[in-house]
């Protein structure tokens, strides 16, 4: 028996835990004691499906108690009828806590966790030692990612609440969560406890087999033994495949998960949760038709499942999306498929295609891996659609997700542009495509994120090391994790900002390896992970360092690179406040002096409170346009991407006669805010003036596709670019489009007359 503190540790709830199988009436381990129901259950647990269904149906027709009828109806998947019979049973015997708990279990199985918890709590108020109520509550809370599950499990595990069946359920829950958390020793111990209880009470061992098979797969061992035992016990127990599939899925081996879920539904076609997961994972693999088929089956079996409903609704919305395919022109390249909302596709597709091609070329060379399949990139204007695409449910905080060759992410309109540089996100996700595929999806989370962040900084469309102040604070508080445990920072964060701190630490680790141990080591680490090594083994084998030694060297690197900053963090925060006050009081000279002091501390800081923005504003207010311009230009060169600041910089550069620089800056805004209608017209004008008519035409085409308010001007601009390119017929067509809207549009009239007179451009 383990101590409660151990249990608490084991059940630190991972964000990767997904809701367990729903609707299906699982093995209850003694929560139901009616002998007639148990008789039918035995048949069901043995896979005698027809006999068990006949048995349950007979019970429904007989004069058995209402609680037994409820169980029978549930077993026959008639949840509504089961609910009614539970209601009758509780009216007849309000103090029957066992039945009430089962009613709660029915609610939990039909995705109504709130109702289920209310029932469990009511039972525990009246019967504080009710072990099955505790187990039910713990299951619900684990599925809701809540650590409070421990408070319900503790009495079971410590023997305060005695019931072997509930205890068995608790050990199975502990084993599952331990496996999800990668604590294999804990999982093994929990399964041994479960084995003992099963042997004592002769419960079906199916769930233990499934968890043991999962552990073998996670350990790269042969799981056939457990599969065979399970199939011998019950040839229709889909869980023997669905449970390992779940573990494949949470370790991002989606295709392996698909194969396993398929086997699960092959032997148990009524397993709604497996159809649902199969559908969602097929979506991740871009197998739309198959995905819909299984999601529809899941919905048919379990109409209460929000994940199935959400996913199907999302698929229905694809009629508003357009597929843009970029076919390779060079042998060996892979096609790029963009799924973009029809209102945005014209504005995003050219940049996304170019960026994706660039990233493939860069990463293929750096990591020595060539993509083998088309890359599919989906961008969602509605962030919640992206969340459903990624997890089946809304409420996800991330910007993008990569499932292998399929990337889903927020579109530029999915978030305010000040918060989101979509070009960098795409670059980040493309790096994931390489790290996942180059390692057969065996790369640990920290390394995949580390490479992605590092590549954002080093080769991304807006390069530069960008570290938020919250991460500097964490560095100062010595909150970086040892390399061997860095994954924990992503999977089981223990403080609010630990995930972003972990992203930055992982990026810095890769930066350190690249600069001090050799760029080739980054590639070799991928090879090591592909060969199945864990992080400790990979560090030792590739870097020839013990993890502890590595940590020491990395700490020195961080100290060298950022130590000076960390020593001045208090000064930084204090000065920021002073700058805000100076700006608010129009005290521009003080603001400049203070901001220059901050630039000295962190020259590359380009977050929204960057001192460069204060400098630019203050200098401009004082009429020092050149200094203001220089401040904004440094901000931009360091990776600053606030679109309104960059557009201002572009205008200032153009005013200063630095048209080429202005064009570069304005082009970079496209990677932040490509849906800015005015931007494309302005940029096109700059390009046209610089005799870059083809590029101008692309900008004008995008401007037109975004349906600007002033359509006549949009058409006229198109005509101008076509005219420069010597396309007379198109010039005339576009001019007529402009004049059709605004017959008295003088510039268009003049160009039309010029065409008619045969003048050259």
């Amino acid at each position: 028996m383990r101590t409660s503190s151990c249990i608490v540790g084991m059940l630190a709830v991972s964000c990767l835990v997904l809701p367990a199988s729903a609707t299906a009436r699982g093995i209850h381990y003694g929560a139901v004691t009616d002998p007639e129901i148990l008789n039918c259950d035995q048949m069901q647990w043995r896979g005698e499906t027809e006999q068990s269904r006949f048995c349950y149906a007979e019970l429904l027709r007989s004069t058995t108690p209402a609680a037994a009828k409820a169980e029978a109806a549930w077993a026959l998947s008639n949840l509504k009828q089961a609910n009614e019979w539970f209601r009758v049973a509780m009216a007849e015997s309000p103090d029957d806590h066992a039945t009430k708990v089962r009613w709660g279990d029915l609610f939990a199985a039909s995705h109504q966790n709130g109702e289920a918890m209310n029932i469990y709590r009511e039972v525990l108020d009246e019967d504080p030692g009710n072990a099955f109520a505790m187990l039910g509550a713990a299951r619900v809370l684990v599925d809701s990612f809540e650590d409070a599950a421990n408070s319900y499990l503790e009495p079971l595990m410590t023997g305060t609440a005695l019931n072997d069946g509930a205890l068995l359920g608790a050990w199975l829950l502990v084993a599952r969560v331990s496996l999800e958390n990668g604590n294999y020793d804990e999982a093994t111990a929990a399964l041994l406890e479960a084995d003992e209880l099963i042997a004592q009470a002769d419960w079906p061992p199916l769930e233990v087999y499934a968890l043991r098979a999962s552990m073998d797969l996670l350990n790269d061992s042969d799981s056939n033994h457990w599969t065979e035992l399970s199939l011998q016990f019950n040839p229709h127990f889909g869980g023997i495949y669905a449970t390992p599939a779940h573990f494949y899925m949470i370790t991002r081996r989606y295709r392996a998960a698909i194969d396993m879920y398929q086997k699960a539904v092959d032997i148990e076609p009524g397993l709604a949760a497996a159809h649902e997961e199969l559908g969602i994972n097929l979506l991740r693999d871009n197998q739309m038709t198959r995905a819909r088929q299984h999601l529809e089956t899941a919905f048919g079996l379990d109409p209460f499942s929000p994940r199935a409903v959400n996913s199907l609704r999302l698929m229905d919305s694809y009629s508003d999306f357009r597929l843009v395919v970029d076919t390779p022109v060079v042998e060996g390249e892979v096609p790029i498929v963009l799924r973009l909302h029809e209102d945005e596709s014209a504005a995003i597709a050219p940049y996304a295609t170019e960026l994706t091609r660039d990233s493939i070329a860069v990463f293929a060379e750096r990591y020595g891996f060539d993509l083998r399949e088309p890359v599919v990139i989906e961008m969602y204007p509605d962030h919640e659609d992206f969340a459903v695409r990624t997890a089946g449910m809304p409420g996800l905080g991330i910007l993008g997700a990569t499932f292998g060759y399929v990337i889903a992410m927020d579109s530029p309109s999915g978030r305010p542009s000040q918060q989101f540089q979509w070009g960098t996100t795409l670059w980040h996700e493309m790096a994931h495509v390489f790290t996942l595929e180059a390692t057969n999806h065996l790369v640990p989370r920290w390394y995949s994120e580390g490479i992605s962040v590092f590549e954002e900084w080093r080769t991304g469309p807006n390069p530069g090391v960008r570290i938020p102040m919250s991460v500097y604070n964490a560095m100062k508080d010595d909150r970086f994790l040892p390399i061997a445990g860095l994954d924990e920072g992503f999977l089981r964060p223990t403080y609010e900002e630990q995930i972003i701190v972990s992203y930055m630490q992982a990026g810095l680790v890769c930066d350190f390896i690249d600069r001090h141990l050799g760029a080739d080591k980054l590639r070799e680490l991928l090879v090591a992970y592909r060969e199945g090594l864990n992080t400790e083994e990979a560090i030792t084998s590739v870097l020839k360092l013990e993890p502890a030694e590595f940590d020491k060297l990395f700490a020195n690197f961080v100290d060298t690179e950022h130590g000076a900053v960390l020593n001045k963090l208090e000064e930084w925060h204090h000065t920021q406040t002073e700058i805000s006050n100076a700006l608010a009081e129009d005290n521009w000279s003080d603001a400049i002096e203070l901001a220059n002091g901050l630039v000295d501390i962190i020259p590359q800081y380009i977050e929204p409170d960057s001192p460069y923005l204060a400098l630019a504003r203050a200098h401009n207010e004082l009429g020092n346009r050149e200094d203001a311009l220089n401040a904004l230009q440094t901000f931009w060169k360091n990776g600053g991407y606030d679109p309104s600041s960059l557009k201002r910089l572009g205008h200032w550069l153009a005013d200063a006669g630095r048209e080429d620089d202005a064009i570069d800056v304005m082009m970079s805004v496209n990677l932040v805010d490509p849906l800015d209608r005015d931007l494309h017209g302005e940029l096109g004008d700059m390009l046209l003036a610089a005799d870059r008519a083809a590029e101008a035409l692309q900008e004008y085409e995008i401007a037109l596709a975004l349906k600007p308010h002033d359509m006549a001007t949009a058409w006229y601009r198109m005509a101008q670019a076509q005219h420069k390119l010597g396309n007379i017929e198109r010039t005339q067509d576009h001019l007529l489009q402009a004049l059709d809207i605004a017959p008295n549009f003088r510039p268009a009239q003049r160009l039309l007359l010029q065409l008619a007179s045969g003048e050259a451009n």
Binding site: P708, A712, R750
Partner: protein, 303 residues
């Protein structure tokens, strides 16, 4: 005779304003804080400046925050009853914050506020029915029923009194009066409708791009919004007396009418035929415009 010729040129340039004088009252309401003080000031300045391009300075009365009161405003509107002719036009701009308590709308000014009933009654008492009311305040939608009539053009920043947040519509409406991209038909005049459509679009874009639920939905009612000009791009048109120019302008207007007829019939003719006819007319129109421009240059009266 001189006066008649001037009018003739005016007729072809500004058909909706023929023989009509535009009288305007612009009211700047209480801002509440510095941010709105600057915004309202900017809007009132831009609107006043734009209006000078379509009417005489003395016909534009601007009430700034520091000189507006209910009595002063209503008194001025009463005085206009004797100045404004039935053939004239009248425009009222209300730039500021409004409130609505589910019973009564109030435009916030120093002292007693201006109520919806005040506005409606004052407008009803003017001799001209050719009016436009532009109320950019929060809750301005509350006066929609009060001020609506068959002749009046009504622009309101919100669709009901329940839209109580400070609005952005006024900022964009003021910008529209000086922005060439608001001039959809490129006739160098910004009509009420053009300014409204520009501002409406900008407001919608603002909320969409900032991922916020729109808290205002502007409305436009009235039949002649596309014909009533509130600004002329490039400044006021000089009064020019010239028969040749008058003829050219008449020629241009005739061509515009023909083009309009052609466009209305486009669905009844093959596309190629339409394009060909359009090209011919557009070339003709362009040449006439060239001639107008040349003549104006000769006269030192460029548009």
């Amino acid at each position: 005779m001189t006066k008649r010729l001037t009018s003739l040129v005016g007729l072809v340039l500004l058909p909706a304003l023929t023989f009509a004088e535009l009288h305007v009252v612009v009211v700047e309401g209480l801002p509440g804080d510095q941010v709105y003080a600057e915004r309202f000031d900017r809007q009132v300045t831009a609107i006043s400046l734009a209006l000078r391009s379509v009417t005489e300075l003395e016909r534009v009365r601007v009430f700034r925050t520091d000189d507006v009161s209910r009595d002063a405003l209503l008194g001025h509107l009463r005085s206009l009853q004797s100045e404004v002719r039935s053939s004239d036009q009248f425009a009222l701009f209300l730039i500021g914050h409004g409130s609505y308590d589910d019973v009564e709308y109030k435009f916030n000014i120093p002292g007693p506020d201006l109520t919806g009933e005040d506005i409606a009654a004052s407008l009803d008492e003017l001799p001209t029915t050719d009016q436009v009311v532009i109320n950019t305040s929060s809750s301005s939608g509350a006066i929609a029923d009060l001020v609506a009539n068959d002749d009046r053009i009504v622009v309101l920043a919100t669709r009901s009194g329940a839209e109580r947040h400070a609005t952005r519509f006024g900022d964009y409406f003021a910008i529209a009066l000086g922005d060439p991209s608001a001039d959809i038909d490129k006739n160098k005049r910004i009509s009420v409708e053009e300014a409204f459509r520009f501002a409406e679009r900008q407001v919608s874009d603002y909320f969409e791009r900032n991922d916020q639920l729109a808290t205002e939905h502007a409305t436009l009612t009235g039949e002649r919004a596309e014909r009533m000009a509130l600004a002329r791009l490039g400044g006021a048109q000089p009064n020019v007396v010239d028969t040749a120019l008058g003829e050219l302008i008449a020629n241009r207007d005739a061509l515009n009418a023909e083009i309009n007829t052609l466009r209305l019939g486009r669905d009844d003719m093959p596309q190629a035929e339409y394009q060909s006819a359009l090209l011919e007319k557009m070339l003709e129109l362009a040449r006439v415009e060239d001639a107008i421009e040349a003549r104006q240059e000769e006269l030192g009266a460029n548009e």
